[in-house]
Each structure stands twice: as C-alpha cells, then as structure tokens.
Amino acid sequence: MTKYSALLFISGLVFLLMVITGLLPMGHTPMLVGNAILEGAKDQVGAANVVTSVVLGYRGLDTLGELSILFAAASVVGLVLTKSSFNKHASNNDDKHDHHDSGFVAVNAIDLIFPLLLVVGMYIITHGHLTPGGGFQGGVVLAVAFSMLVIVRPRRVSINHGMVSIIESFAGVSFIVIGVVALFKGQSFLQPLLGHGEFASLWSAGTLPLLYLAVGLKVGAELAGLLLALNTDEVAS
C-alpha cells in the first residue's frame, strides 16, 4: 500500500518536474539581482571574487545562519554520541589502549602531508576574496588534516575537546562582533567596514578576509569535532 502510494507520488513528481523544466528559461535567466550585484560589487564590497562578496557581504546573515546550523549539528552529534556531562567531555584518554596506530604507509604519508594541508587550508581561507575558495573549503581542509592525524595515530595525538570548543566559540563570537561593531557605528549589522584597499590585492575588501578567517576557523573546528565524535567508539547507551 505504502509502496503504491510512493510510486504514485513519484510519478506525479516526475511529470511535474519534467513539465517545469520545459517551462523554465534555460541558459538566459532574468538575473535582476545578479546583474545589480555584478555592477555594484566592485565599489560596494571590493572583493575580486563576486561570490565572496555575496556570501559575506550581501548575504552575510545567511552565512551566520549556516555557521549556526553546523554548530547545532556538531552539538547534537556531541550530545547523542558522547557520555559527557557538565564540564566533562568524554576524553579519549581512557580508551587509548584499544587504538593502534595505522600502518607504516599511512603514518608516514600523513606526517608528510599534514603541514602541507595546513598551508593549503590557510592559503585557501586567506585568499577567499580573490580566488575561488574561502572559509568553508579551507576550513574543511584544516578539519580533515587534523582529524586524519588523530585517526591515523590515535596514540600519539589527541585533540583537546575543550580547545576545539573554545576555538569554535571564539570564531563564532568574532563573526558576530564584527557585525555588531558595524551596527554600533550607526550603520547596519554586518556592513562591510574598513577601507577597500587596492582592488584584487591581499589586503582588500575591508572586513571580508577577517570574516572568512572566522568562518574558516569555525568550520574547521566544527567539522573536526564532528568527525572525531563520529569516530569515537564509545556510544552512550
């Protein structure tokens, strides 16, 4: 019964979506907002990468909301998977002894790659307003770098959960503080401040690089925490 209704639903949806696709203006959409942003982005925000202007300038609140969603997801994963109570986060010191370092190849490869990944991650974050990439992508690289290190050699390296949560709080708070500073300078929340600098140079686009740095730290800390929480073998029952 459920199956048939599901199939009926699906076929209806297939029909609907196919018809819609036929009706859409493909390849020549009326980009009203898009054109306005392409015209004004250079003067209003000053980042060479217009997508960054949109992510942190025109739609900064969306980015803040997105960070909050990641934060919520990481909190829930922590709540669901660890036995921690107030003040005490489940430290993986206790179950160290059942972990073994991975094989020779993995250990050496990650030792070799780790600094490289850090540099690449920081480069992607700090050049987010000039080239493709930015806080999210660089943050992911950082998170993967750290959690690979922990996963590959759990005996030698452990990430301090308290440190991770302080970093993520600090990054989120600084994003908000940058926004609120603009608010109290008599302008509105998350308005780009500081001079635009020389266009397409590293020190340009006002507060955008700072915001992206906060985003990168936050995303990195959040995702590293997520990956490690998912990877701990201990589940509260």
Partner: protein, 150 residues
C-alpha cells in the same frame, strides 16, 4: 518549450533525474543507511538545479580578473546560495549518521519498518495502551513504570 539537446537541457535533465532518484530511494528504501545515501543524492540534485538557475550560456566565472572586463558573467547569487546549501547538507548528514548509530545500538536493526513498529509499540506501552494492530506479544520494554509522567 526549450530545445532539449543543449548543454542546459541535458544538465537540467540530469539535475531533475538526480533529485527524483534520490527521492525515490528515500521513499522506497528500508535500510536506514541507504535512506541517508538517498537523502544525499536528493540534496545534490536540488543544489544542481539551484546552480543552473544562474547559468548563462557562454558566461564566465564571476571573478574580476585582469583580462575579463566586459565579458558576460554567470549569476553569483545562486553560487553563493549553493555554497550555503552544501555545507548545511553535510551538517544534516553527520547528524543523521549519529542518530543512526544510536538507533542501531538500541534496536539492533537497520530496517525502517521494524524500527517503526517497535517504536509504536514502545510509545503505546509508555502511554499504557495496548499497541494498535499488533498480533504478537509486546516486546519486553526496559522502561520503568511511571516514566510516562516525567
């Protein structure tokens, strides 16, 4: 109507098909992990539709470089939206996985139907009602009496 055999036509077809495959999997699968994979596909399809909504034929990437003043650029807004949507998607995915771990641990099964019937029985027992439409004996429930009131 559009002519179909163009780059946009093929891409729209791919995007819509991807979403439909994802939704189909979500509705028809019984396995929790497979449902999660289907959800990922569904999200990916929607993201592709969103990116295509800013696609201009022969447009260039929306980045100001030295040599490209005057060229037609793609719409930057959908690209920014999709960045947000992708990150949201991965958060939800990790969250779902952590819930699946717990559910697997508690029910010992990955089958949505089994879990749902067990869940309904638990709720009914908790409320002190005979479970609706169950012929078998109710499963032993670990809960202590009186919890329903808490």
């Amino acid at each position: 109507m559009n002519s179909f055999f163009t780059i946009e036509g093929i891409l729209y077809f791919g995007a819509i098909s991807l979403s439909i495959i994802g939704l189909f999997g979500l509705l028809v699968s019984k396995n929790l992990f497979r449902m999660l994979l289907s959800l990922v596909l569904f999200e990916a399809g929607a993201n592709l539709v969103l990116v295509l909504s800013g696609f201009i034929r022969n447009g260039i990437a929306p980045i100001f470089l030295d040599g490209n003043s005057g060229a037609v650029m793609n719409d930057p807004v959908p690209q920014a939206l999709v960045l947000t949507a992708i990150v949201i998607g991965v958060g939800v995915q990790a969250l779902a996985l952590s819930l699946i771990f717990r559910v697997k641990k508690h029910y010992g099964s990955m089958d949505m139907r089994t879990i749902r019937s067990k869940l309904e029985r638990e709720i009914a027992t908790q409320a002190g009602v005979t479970p609706p439409g169950s012929n078998e004996a109710p499963a032993p429930v670990k809960l202590v009496k009186g919890e329903a009131h808490e």
